[in-house]
Amino acid sequence: MHLLEGEKLTINFGGLIAVNNVDFYVDEKEILGLIGPNGAGKTTLFNLISATFKPKSGTIRFKGKDITGMSTYKVCRLGIARTFQTVKTFSNMSVLSNVRLAALFGAPVKLSEAQATKDALELLEFVGLSKNVNSPARDLTLGNQKRLEVARALATRPELLLLDELMAGLTHTEVAEAMEDILQIRSEKGITIIMIEHVMKAIMNVCDRIIVLNYGKKIAEGTPAEIVNSPTVIEVYLGEQSNAGNK
């Protein structure tokens, strides 16, 4: 049984079909990459999984259970967490409160205030924000705000983590650190990850498997090596082979 699977997912906004009959799955402890040109429907697919939107047709199953049409907060408590393309931290709340709140409300089991605080502090240390625990979130750099979002998502004790363009706007060093962190999340915490990325180096080096979307449709699926060599993908997205990043 796949950890998460989507079958024939479709959604449109007015006349635009954003996600068109997409099938996908991710297995436990996998790191799945989701790539495609801008506007291909990647974030929309995330929105369907995290229940921001309800699909027009199709089903989503998490651990075998049908979660299509479930409310966002319930999906979170079931074990799916995400970060956002444009950072959505709670700006006027402290860094600690951002994460504590997620622990208090999003975890599959009810946590006490003390346990939530403990979890939050541990996670903030994990992402490297121990020094900023009491700063308001708005005072953080972009890179740190993204770290905060990750800590916040992890505080809900997810089994599946959706990362939406985590690397956007990061420097080379920061990208390398982020790649390490993602692998660590999988190895230390046993969390399955789906990541949307444009930074090819990260995708190729971190992901076990990659799905490629274009105009809402899935056009390719396979290991990084397969994707890099797929003519369809190259034509649509990657450009020349030499640009596809190194292994």
């Binding site: 979170c76 967490a81 709140l101």
Partner: protein, 324 residues
């Protein structure tokens, strides 16, 4: 609540000062200063309305303009169950009835509108006072055959103490909600509702319940105020100004903490008192309207927000969280 945060110094300031205030104010009727009792009753009324308005609207940004509707319901609860002629229930019971009815009505309103964008909530609540007024008019004229009702009177001192009690409870409830995890959740809803939902907050239910709780105090206040004026009818009981004033007072005072709304309430009810008894009494709505516009434009975080900012700058600190 994070008990580790409470230390002895905090205890002194956070509990000592309010307690002292409470005792001083509570002894007011004993000074024999009748005008003072009426004046402070007015303060208490507006503190109740403003503090309870802030519990929901101040924190989440969902602006409710229905305060007058729930307050009016409270007035009518008193009119029905505390009549001049006929059997009257104990006031406490009527207060509870009004609070419960307000809660239920607000819950229904919330269930209909709070699933949607904030503008729908605002649109729905702003007309609510007109709706309730019309329904009661209709009931009185068509079904009952008489207009208006006579309410039994309570002494000034009794009114004062009832209001004081409701005010203390409202402020305590506001304080404890704010410090609890639900207060944090409400704040997150105000900051970014989508993110709040994604970290497990049941956004819709949290909004509905909080809104309903806040209206209970408005209804309770209405009950008591009815016993000050013998005659009530839909025209006088449902006044849009009662929806407006708490918003003005909260924004002026600042919605970031428990004291801002109270300060705004005292300030404006005092100004209202001055204006209404002076030569400017025909201009007070104009002045208040203009003051709200001015406050929104030039003092968006309110007086307490401004003071906090200045205090931080004075102490040389970098900006700290505005709330928790």
């Amino acid at each position: 609540m994070d008990l580790s945060k409470i230390n002895r110094k905090n205890l002194g300031v956070n509990i000592g000062i309010p307690l002292a205030l409470l005792i001083i104010v509570g002894l007011l009727p004993l000074y024999g200063w009748d005008y003072g009792v009426t004046l402070f009753s007015n303060f208490l009324l507006y503190i109740i309305l403003t503090v309870s308005w802030v519990i929901f609207s101040g924190v989440t940004g969902y602006i409710s303009l229905a305060t007058a509707a729930f307050y009016g319901l409270g007035i009518y609860a008193a009119a029905i169950y505390f009549p001049l002629n006929g059997h009257a229930l104990p006031l406490i019971v009527i207060i509870l009835i009004a609070a419960a009815v307000s809660f239920v009505v607000a819950f229904i309103v919330g269930a209909i509108t709070l699933r949607l964008r904030g503008i729908y909530f605002a649109m729905f609540t702003f007309g609510l006072v007109l709706l309730v007024k019309e329904v009661i008019y209709y009931w009185e004229i068509v079904i009952q055959g008489t207009r208006g009702r006579m309410v039994a009177l309570e002494s000034n001192n009794a009114v004062f103490y009832y209001l004081l009690g409701i005010c203390v409870i409202a402020m305590l409830v506001s304080y404890f909600i704010r410090r609890s995890k639900y207060g944090l959740a409400l704040q997150s809803i105000g900051e970014n509702e989508e993110a709040a939902a994604h970290i497990g907050v049941n956004v819709t239910m949290t909004k509905i319940v909080t809104f309903a709780i806040s209206t209970a105090f408005m209804g309770a206040a209405g009950v008591i105020m009815a016993t000050k004026n013998t005659y009530v009818d839909p025209g006088t009981a449902f006044d849009p100004m009662i929806s407006f004033s708490p918003a003005l007072m909260a924004i002026f005072g600042g919605t970031g903490n428990v004291w801002g709304p109270a300060i705004g309430a005292v300030f404006f009810s005092y100004v209202q008192e001055l204006l209404q008894t002076g030569s400017l009494k025909d201009y007070y709505k104009l002045i208040f309207g203009a003051m709200l516009i001015g406050t929104i434009l030039y003092l968006p975080t309110g007086l307490t927000g401004l003071i906090q900012k200045l205090w931080k700058r004075f102490k040389g600190e970098k900006s700290a969280p505005i709330r928790g």
